[in-house]
Every structure is written in structure tokens, then in C-alpha cells.
């Protein structure tokens, strides 16, 4: 790709993304005392990650079966309070195992 055009795209992408992240951080400087707003902000991480995880996790590996097995393994280990890294790697290994079996049985 033409370097000049690429750099214009890059500037637009990075610029917009940076401003979206930074402006609210500058504007909302005071502690928010409103209980409703506090509650919304408290629940926000769970809502965002819940939306991003489901149903995407089931389709993240290219086939539904391994995606479901990986999601199951991840869920059980996360509920047992294993670390982020442990859960992520175990889910990957579970997916690889299912895919390997699928290849063998084909």
C-alpha cells in the first residue's frame, strides 16, 4: 500500500481511538457521588466483557465443538478462581486437543 495513504489512514484510526479514550478521562475529574451512576460504573466491566465473550467464544476457534469445549473448560477453571493466564492457556489446550482428535477421527 502507498505509504502516504497508509499514514493518513493510520493517523485517522489512531487519532480517533486516542481521543475517545482520553477526553472522558480529562472531563470527568471529580468523583461522581450519584449512587445510580456509581452502580452503573460498578457493573460496567461485567456487562462489557459479558457482551464480548458471548456468543463470540463459541465461534472463536473455527468450529463450534472445540469452541464449546474450550468455553466449558474456561468456565469451570475461572469459577475455581484460577489465574487469567492459567484459564487462557487451558482453554487453548482444550481446543487444540479437540481439534487434534477431530483430525485423527476424520
Amino acid at each position: 500500500m502507498n505509504t502516504k495513504i497508509f499514514l493518513i489512514y493510520l493517523l485517522l484510526m489512531a487519532g480517533v481511538t486516542y481521543l475517545i479514550r482520553t477526553i472522558p478521562l480529562i472531563v470527568f475529574r471529580e468523583k461522581i457521588r450519584n449512587r445510580f451512576v456509581q452502580s452503573v460504573l460498578y457493573y460496567m466491566p461485567y456487562a462489557v466483557l459479558g457482551t464480548m465473550t458471548f456468543p463470540a467464544i463459541f465461534f472463536s476457534t473455527g468450529d463450534l465443538l472445540s469452541g464449546c469445549v474450550g468455553a466449558g473448560v474456561g468456565t469451570v477453571l475461572a469459577l475455581r478462581k484460577k489465574s487469567l493466564l492459567f484459564v487462557a492457556i487451558a482453554a487453548c489446550l482444550a481446543v487444540a486437543a479437540v481439534k487434534g482428535l477431530e483430525l485423527l477421527l476424520r
Binding site: M1, L41, Y43, A47, A91, V95
Partner: protein, 239 residues
């Protein structure tokens, strides 16, 4: 100062490892679509976002308009505004405008989740450390993916696809065991997302916009059903 920074670096390591796999797939896709290795790496270093970068790559490859690029990034990444508001509430008193200009660069889904999950307020040093390891992981993963090209077996690439979601589960499920109300919030958010995914709504609603709608709807539902007591929130802490 030094201790906060080191803790940030440490807390960032699992995020960085999760990012390695996702950015690896971005590097693969960018080069497969005709971008140079340095271009793929530069996009990751300056954007630090998954959905936005994949969409931006599509627009570049299709030679889309500049306005389209701006609008797509705005919609897909608008959720970061909500996260920035939440992080601004966790920031300690010493975080002034220059520090906020720095910290703003690193607001991602995972960094936001870890930062707002801290019991106490967060310092600039902590946030800087918490950004640095993931930025390194995100950029390095892109470089490796761009270099690896097509030599990586499909099985390995596919298996890596689930890493980021495994990490998400490990962030949201442990606190939900302690506070069962969180299952309602997570369930509501997941339900909205599934409705969009499995119906024709998918044609009209982008994934970025869906995140905004579902995140606001589910957290407002939580605020209405289970208002948080400010003091109780502090005790529950790590949630």
C-alpha cells in the same frame, strides 16, 4: 512510585500474554491482505485495540473513504469512553491532565477491567506499568504474526483464537461467585449480544455498537435492581 509501577507491570503480564495470540492473528491478517510488516506493527503500536484494528484493516484494503474510517473507529471504540469514565473514578488525586493524557492511551477492555478491579485508587505509575506490558505484548504478537505468514499450522492458530475469551472469563467469573448478582448482569449482557448475533439485527448493528448498547442496558439494569452501597462496594473490593 516504584512499587506501584512494578505491580502494574506484573498485573499486565497475563494481559500481555493474552494479547500475544490475538495480535498474532492481526499480524497474519494484515500481511495476508498486502500490508507491509512495519505497517502492521505500527497499526498495533498506535491503536492498541482488536475490533477497531480489524475493521480498520478491512477499510484500508477496500480503499474505503476517510470518513468511513473515522466513523467506524468512533462506533466500534466508543465503549472505551465508558471505561475511561470508570477509570477516572479510580484515579488518585495526583493524576492531573498530563498524566491523564498518557493513561488515556492505554484504556483497553482488559486494562480497564484490571484497573477498576483494584481495591484502592490507582496511581499514574501503576497505570503506566499496567499499560506497558500489554503494549509490548500486542506489538510483539503483531510482529510475530506478520513474520510467521502462513507457516503456522491452522490448528495452532485456531486454538489461539480462544485465548482472549478465556481471559475474559477469568476476569468476570471469580467475583461473580462471591456476588451472585453479577451473574444477572453478565447474563443480561450475554443475552442481548446473542439476540443480535442470531437474528437479522446482525445485518444492521455492528459489533462495536452492540457492545455499547448491551453494556449500558445491562449495567443500568444492575443499577436499578441492585443499587450499590458505596461502603459495601469498598468492602467487596476486588469485584
Amino acid at each position: 512510585m516504584g512499587q506501584d509501577f512494578q505491580k502494574g507491570i506484573r498485573d499486565g503480564i497475563p494481559i500481555a500474554l493474552g494479547y500475544l495470540s490475538v495480535s498474532f492473528t492481526f499480524g497474519l491478517a494484515a500481511v495476508a491482505n498486502g500490508l507491509a510488516v512495519w505497517q502492521a506493527v505500527l497499526i498495533s503500536l498506535t491503536n492498541l485495540t482488536s475490533a477497531g484494528q480489524f475493521a480498520g484493516l478491512d477499510i484500508m484494503v477496500a480503499a474505503g473513504g476517510y470518513a468511513e474510517m473515522v466513523l467506524a473507529q468512533l462506533v466500534i471504540n466508543l465503549r472505551y469512553s465508558l471505561m475511561s469514565i470508570a477509570v477516572s473514578q479510580k484515579a488518585d488525586a495526583k493524576m492531573k491532565t498530563p498524566q491523564r493524557l498518557l493513561v488515556g492511551f492505554g484504556i483497553t477492555d482488559e486494562i480497564f477491567a484490571v484497573a477498576t478491579g483494584q481495591n484502592d485508587s490507582v496511581s499514574t505509575a501503576y497505570m503506566t506499568g499496567l499499560m506497558l506490558t500489554p503494549i509490548a505484548g500486542w506489538t510483539l504478537g503483531t510482529l510475530l504474526g506478520a513474520l510467521a505468514g502462513n507457516i503456522l499450522p491452522a490448528l495452532v492458530a485456531d486454538a489461539l483464537g480462544i485465548a482472549i475469551y478465556g481471559m475474559f472469563l477469568a476476569i468476570i467469573l471469580p467475583p461473580a461467585r462471591e456476588n451472585k448478582k453479577l451473574f444477572v448482569i453478565i447474563g443480561a449482557a450475554a443475552a442481548i449480544s446473542c439476540i443480535r448475533y442470531f437474528t437479522p439485527l446482525r445485518e444492521v448493528l455492528s459489533s462495536g455498537f452492540t457492545i455499547i448498547i448491551a453494556a449500558i442496558a445491562a449495567s443500568v439494569l444492575g443499577a436499578v435492581l441492585f443499587p450499590v452501597d458505596t461502603d459495601a462496594q469498598k468492602e467487596e473490593g476486588s469485584a
